[in-house]
């Protein structure tokens, strides 16, 4: 279910009506939890088990860290929910037959579909192995929990933290990286003359697994650090993980930020509501008008087997820079807007990243929720910028490599992470010289500022080439192509014109955002100006937008 689909509009409208109808916080939470599970299950209901399992480990872990156990009532809810959920999600139940059996005969009166014959509640040749494995995993969880509570008090926190980390990393590693590492190992051995057939799982990566796993880990770490009181009520914790606006593609919310908001009563706030509607509208515009239109040009140039010239590579990479920013920030905006309609604040994920003039600034503006997570839970624990310069570079590189690999198990994400790490290290290396030229408090001349911006923007763009390319061969080919074909640059002016046509509203809006240092600058304009802007954006979207419901790029991560 995409944010830019009618299905999401139906879900959101239903949730809003129920939310403001229910009034009482706990009922609202249960309703939002149901909406989140439905939202996630609309991709593949079987992956809901992973979500539930991961969150149950962290729920237990959180309580175990502070030597607490769930109350009897909450424990019963937890155990019953897990058992029922595991059975319903993992048993080979023939849902399509069950669904069609429930439908009246008139459902088939359109004539274009035939009822699925009733073959029993379970699929005749259904695999019970998955169900068995799921219950075995529950058994392991129970066992580790029992063992944990038997440990001395001083060892319990570390034990439960480790269990939580290990289980989350196993889930992430198994579903996202197993095939990558086995295939890489096989090709490494092949290079040594040892040919082995890699054992590949071929399992689809569960949507948003990187997002919710990182978010879940932040909970146990925060509890371990004593920064957060663990929740006793499992549905609240599950809601924290499965809160539908940000479930699949973030922003990754740290538990200390989101969980308390879910646990307290919310009130309707007119400012939030207005800005929420604006964020949803602006997000849809960025997705439908900018990102999905630019996708066509990017796809052509980055197609496997294409042999683009330098200008084509450059212009298509500009297009991709705009596309990925519009696409991902659109998702974040819609998530934040939706959340605001429900009275819950989600952190800002993008703060005009392309105005950055150095890598440090870029990462403070781009995918802020991930870079904050990496900073708080990886970079600083590794030592941060304390210690020798060598350690600093190591920490930066490790953090960015993990950040790259977080996106997926592909060599180009690894390369992109290394590249970003190298940019950060390079900047750290040059920092003393830069400081000497421009001491603190001295403003750079405009030309120098523009030059540093332009240089860094193109470095970022080269990073996007690494990110977008399909293979190492393509990266090498496109990098080499960058230096060819410039005599005929005028032949490709059309591509640049298209990028400009689809990018101008974003560039203009960002100009005002930068000028006022206000991401919601449009909401400060006088009402006639705002009305004119809304009408313009609306018709650009309706008439020129790509309304095919293209999936968001970050859904795959």
């Amino acid at each position: 279910m995409n944010f830019n689909s009618g299905a999401y509009a139906v879900l959101l409208a239903t949730v809003l009506v129920l939310y403001y109808g229910l009034r009482e916080k706990r009922r609202q939470n249960l309703m939002m939890l149901a909406a989140g599970l439905f939202f996630y299950g609309s991709w593949d209901h079987r992956f809901l088990f992973l979500l539930m399992y991961s969150s149950s480990v962290d729920y237990i872990g959180g309580l175990g860290i502070v030597h607490r156990r769930p109350s009897r009532y909450n424990g019963v809810i937890f155990v019953a929910g897990m058992l029922a959920g595991t059975f319903l999600l993992c048993a080979p139940i023939d849902w399509s037959a069950a669904w069609t059996a429930l439908l009246p005969a008139r459902a088939f009166a359109g004539g274009w579909t035939e009822p699925v014959p009733w073959r029993g509640f379970f699929e005749p040749a259904g695999a019970w192995r998955i169900c068995g494995a799921a219950f075995a995993a529950l058994g392991v969880l129970s066992l580790t929990t029992v063992i944990g509570y038997q440990l001395p008090d001083d060892k319990q926190p570390k034990y439960f933290l480790c269990v939580s980390m290990v289980v989350n990393m196993i889930l992430l590693g198994f579903f996202k990286y197993f095939d990558f590492f086995t295939a890489s190992a096989a090709s490494g051995l092949a290079a040594l003359g040892i040919h082995v057939q890699p054992w590949l799982l071929g399992v689809a990566v569960p949507a948003g697994i990187s997002f919710y796993t990182f978010q879940a880990m932040s909970y146990t770490i925060d509890v371990y650090r004593g920064q957060l009181e663990p929740t006793d009520y499992y549905p609240d914790y599950l809601l924290f993980v499965s809160f539908f606006p940000h479930l699949v593609a973030g922003p990754i919310q740290q538990a200390t930020w989101l969980l308390p908001q879910l646990q307290r009563a919310r009130t309707f706030d007119w400012i939030r509501f207005q800005s929420g509607v604006f964020l949803i509208g602006w997000g849809l515009f960025k997705k439908i008008f900018i990102a999905d239109n630019l996708e066509r040009f990017v796809k052509t140039t980055y197609a496997v087997g294409a042999h683009p010239t330098g200008p084509e590579v450059l212009f298509a990479t500009y297009a991709f820079a705009l596309q990925i920013y519009s696409d991902f920030s659109a998702y974040s905006d819609i998530a934040r807007g939706t959340s605001r309609l429900l009275g819950i604040e989600i952190t800002v994920n993008f703060n005009i990243p392309y105005v950055a003039t150095n890598p440090g600034e870029f990462w403070r503006r781009w995918h802020i929720s991930l870079s904050s997570w990496l900073r708080d839970y990886l970079y600083i624990p590794l030592g941060g910028n304390r210690g020798t310069r060598g350690l600093l570079y190591r920490n930066l590189l490790l953090t960015m490599i993990l950040g790259g690999m977080w996106h997926g198990a592909r060599m180009n994400f690894l390369l992109w992470g290394c590249y970003q790490g190298a940019l950060l290290c390079g900047y750290q290396l040059l920092q003393p010289y830069i400081d000497r030229v421009t001491p603190k408090g001295v403003t750079l001349p405009r030309v120098a500022h523009f030059a540093s911006w332009a240089l860094f923007f193109h470095l970022v763009c080269y990073g996007w080439l690494l990110f977008r390319a399909e293979s190492g061969v393509q990266i090498a080919g496109m990098t080499a192509a960058l230096f060819t074909g410039w005599r005929h640059v005028a032949d490709h002016a059309g591509l640049l014109a298209h990028v400009a046509w689809f990018g101008w509203p974003l560039i203009l809006m960002q100009y005002f955002q930068v000028k006022t240092k206000n991401l919601l600058v449009a909401l400060t304009w006088s009402w006639p100006v705002r009305a004119a802007v809304y009408v313009t954006l609306f018709y650009l979207m309706v008439v020129f937008g790509a309304v095919d419901g293209v999936q968001f790029i970050y859904f795959q991560f």
Binding site: A7, V10, A107, V348, N518, L523, W525, V542
Partner: protein
């Protein structure tokens, strides 16, 4: 800043500030402006409407005006819409009128619904000539083309039972009805860029749409489309002509026949010709045998309805524009053959005097 406004950031992130207004004036003005734009676009759609949509629109408008009322109505797809001109038949049929109600992409369910609409409007034909080339209704035909964009009413569309499977389709259906800008978005896009190229409002789309309207009016619903094919010998692959039936097609053909029977509307099936490179396999599995057998099955199911089958013959390669559509010469040939067949048919069935056939009962 208006006196009712203030700037607040208390509930937002540190990167955000908004102007607070008690009444959302910008949103109200936006809605009013959108309404004005939509009304303007709706009233002037002749300027930019794409041809496919405009033909459906025009046919609906002419139907509403009564300009396509007739005793004999032709139902079908683009094959008959562009390939059968009722004018020759009308010249020899002084006691009534033949009209072409076929349209591009009009499948059996759309035809059945149109027949019901004609009956409900008190303008039922005495004879329905139904294109009989295949008995297919594709699932997508509920969700594509002008039918989905503006032709179908809500009850029509609900007959697809789509809501059991894909409720959000209702959104697209509603959007197309509420917003002409959405319904014609590609056409408006083209028109804007055409106008930009010509530094003024591009008028060729409007001229084409006007010409279509005139032609449809003058030719009792038919609009020409295809040029004559080259006379050069065909050297492409030969392929078998396939008779295709699916359950949805059968369900909606049955609906059409039942509605016709319930209102004593005579049925004639028109088996359209095919180009010579589509080879009809001989024997019981061949196209002709299966088509004839299917027509016989229909008659068996409702023995009281005198359902006739008309199959024009003698078409060469030059009579076709593609695998199914007739060229100009093909259209002229079929229109003339239809006129001849119809003269005989109207005499046999005493059309214009006592049109009603014997009492019929709906098919099971």
């Amino acid at each position: 800043m208006a006196s009712s406004s203030s700037t607040s950031s208390s509930e937002l992130s540190r990167y955000e500030r908004v102007r607070v207004e008690r009444t959302p004036k910008a949103a109200i003005a936006f809605l009013v402006l959108v309404m004005l734009v939509e009304l303007t676009l709706g009233a002037n759609r002749q300027w930019f409407a794409d041809h496919a949509a405009w033909q459906w629109e025009t046919k609906r408008a002419l139907l509403a005006q009564g300009a396509l009322d007739g005793d004999v109505a032709i139902f079908g797809t683009s094959v008959l819409y562009h390939g059968l001109d009722p004018t020759p038949a009308n010249r020899g049929f002084s006691r009534g009128r033949v009209v072409n109600l076929a349209l591009n992409g009009m499948m059996l369910q759309h035809q059945a619904q149109l027949l019901r609409d004609r009956i409900a409007a008190g303008r039922a034909p005495a004879v329905a000539v139904l294109e009989f080339r295949q008995v297919l209704v594709e699932h997508e035909s509920w969700f594509r083309g002008p039918y989905y964009r503006f032709w179908a009413s809500w009850p029509d569309f609900l007959e697809s039972r789509f809501y059991y499977w894909n409720l959000p389709l209702a959104f697209g259906f509603a959007e197309n009805r509420v917003l002409p800008s959405f319904r014609y978005r590609e056409a408006i896009d083209n028109w804007i860029f055409d106008s930009a190229r010509t530094f003024g409002p591009a008028g060729h789309t409007r001229a084409r749409n006007r010409a279509t309207e005139v032609e449809m009016r003058e030719h009792a619903g038919m609009v020409s489309a295809f040029e004559n094919r080259s006379q050069a010998a065909y050297d492409g692959p030969q392929s078998p002509r396939v008779w295709a039936v699916n359950p949805a097609g059968e369900r909606w053909l049955r609906e059409f026949l039942n509605v016709a029977a319930a209102h004593r509307i005579q049925i004639a099936l028109l088996a359209t010709p095919a180009p010579p490179y589509l080879v009809e396999t001989p024997g019981p599995d061949g196209f002709r045998a299966q088509l004839t057998a299917y027509a016989a099955k229909i008659r068996r199911e409702d023995p009281t309805a005198a359902i006739e089958l008309f199959g024009p013959k003698g078409y060469g390669l030059a009579d076709f524009a593609d695998d199914v559509h007739l060229s100009v010469s093909g259209r002229e040939k079929m229109s003339a053959q239809f006129a001849d067949w119809f003269r005989d048919y109207s005499a046999r069935h005493a059309l214009g005097r006592a049109i009603a056939p014997a009492t019929t009962t709906p098919m099971k």
